[in-house]
Symmetry: C2
Subunit: 302 residues, 2 copies
């Protein structure tokens, strides 16, 4: 962990950062957009970085969308990004199961949204639950057994705005009763900018609920876990020291970058305020910080 | 904590236990009933204990009912119990707020069921949420602010089979944004026998969800916290050493009894199996254990 205090990004240090970095890894919520609103100056900044030959990668813990859904979201906001440049925690969950050779005859129960289901299916896995269990209700009746599929070998938990008692019981039964059933969390963000105006409970809320009922801890595949970074490194032939992680969260983005030995830039356009960054109790210091990504562009101008 | 191994209740030691105890504190789920089914031999056992002059108290972490609703449940199962003999975690939450002189002009937001609302209202507090928010949905839309009542000064979280994202966001906003807002958990049981045939996620699941989104820890008023015991002691003039806590859970019932210096009896008719009790990793040993409460009666017979 970096112990020297974060430096404010300035006209003096921005050139050094840009010259020494080959790839920028961007978080999305609070960095590129807030909810469905683009943050000022993002398209121009991404365009300038691309024109300088920088590789751009978008690394998001928000599991509600698949890579293809994210590419559409970028497009709808006027930014052209390919699926190959997107690393969502929904994709990470599917890649994790692939990496461990999760048996194809086993099923995956999902507490989460469409993005996880899509990525699991693209990777060839059979997924249950997710949105279609959002309207189911649990019947607490005598002599009435809540049945679950004994062939579920993994429960993947991510952000789920349709969380209910049915899904909590289903996931809990699989983890408690199916021998060897894995408990995988896309991420553990406490809250996130699900809308532009405010924060909402994040995947950390649903993951904690399942920790509470199963008394087990999950395998985390999104930021700040190293899994996603190892996957990125295999895909791109760039050393970590030539990557810069740009994010709005200390506990996921900045920690993720630092754990891997990347350069780090905190933007204050999301959940972290300057007072949280400067608070003596905060132990995670990014290398640089600035108010928003387009500051890079503004500081470069003569 | 008691470190000597639990003794099996026997014809030899049951008389000593009964002679030295003036009050029996019974857990309900897994001890008196499972879901809506009475456990064999309970009415006869309670009747015999009463006829021997023993005081009976029913101490339940299940917050879904009020004391009056519990008295009705006992009656429907053919057992006569007065409200005065019932100590539910729903009641404990209301008593806690009364004890700390929670201001009457402040409101209480409830993630939980009818029992908590009833007890809060009986104690003179204004409660929001609970069942009526079970059908509400959160709108994740641009320019749309999720409003919460700024006069909520406490969020009480218990078991809630109608848990949803609306309630999770409401409770999270109150705790994160209303200055000084308390986070009170009725209890943290991981699972419980909501039906006779199986276990379901308990209040520990909903409480953990709010811990996950707020990154705060709650004040727990149910077992194993001392709050309920202090309240019991004020009400009944019996010393702890003359009370015996009878329960099916090591982490709530037995710990609760031991924390207060009570005698303890574990019954294996609920969540704890003999192998869990005897496992070397288990650090909580009751004084006695037996398969079900009616064993007391059977062992007494010549």
């Amino acid at each position: 962990m970096n112990s020297s205090p974060a430096q404010l990004l300035s006209a003096q240090n921005v050139n050094q950062l840009l010259d020494s970095v080959q790839a920028f890894l961007f978080d999305c919520d609070g960095v590129i957009w807030k909810g469905d609103k683009l943050i000022d100056g993002v398209p121009e900044t991404l365009h300038t970085l691309r024109s300088k030959g920088k590789k751009l990668v978008f690394v998001t813990n928000n599991s509600t969308k698949s890579r293809s859904q994210y590419a559409n979201k970028f497009l709808s906001l006027g930014i052209s990004v390919t699926e190959d440049e997107i690393f969502s925690s929904s994709f990470a969950a599917a890649m994790y199961l692939q990496l461990i050779n999760f048996p194809q005859h086993k099923k995956v129960y999902v507490i989460g949204e469409q993005g996880i289901l899509e990525e699991l299916q693209l990777a060839g896995f059979t997924a249950l639950g997710g949105p279609e269990d959002g309207k189911k209700t649990a019947q607490l009746k005598s002599n009435c057994l809540f049945e679950h599929d004994k062939s579920v070998g993994a429960v993947v938990v991510g952000l789920d705005q349709y969380i209910n008692y049915y899904k909590l019981q289903y996931g809990t039964l699989c983890i408690r009763e199916n021998p060897g059933c894995l408990f995988i969390a896309t991420n553990r963000d406490a809250v996130g900018h699900m809308t532009d105006l405010q924060e909402w409970p994040g995947a950390g809320c649903m993951v904690a609920a399942i920790c509470g009922s199963t008394q087990k801890e999950p395998i985390v595949v999104g930021k700040p876990s190293n899994f996603l970074m190892e996957f990125l490194l295999k895909k791109f032939d760039i050393s970590c020291s030539k990557m810069c992680m740009v994010g709005d969260r200390l506990d996921t983005d900045i920690l993720f970058g630092q754990n891997a030995g990347c350069r780090t830039l905190l933007v204050l356009s999301g959940v972290t305020t300057e007072s949280v960054l400067q608070d003596p109790s905060n132990k995670t210091q990014p290398e640089y910080y600035t108010s928003k990504v387009s500051d890079m562009l503004d500081l470069l101008r003569p």
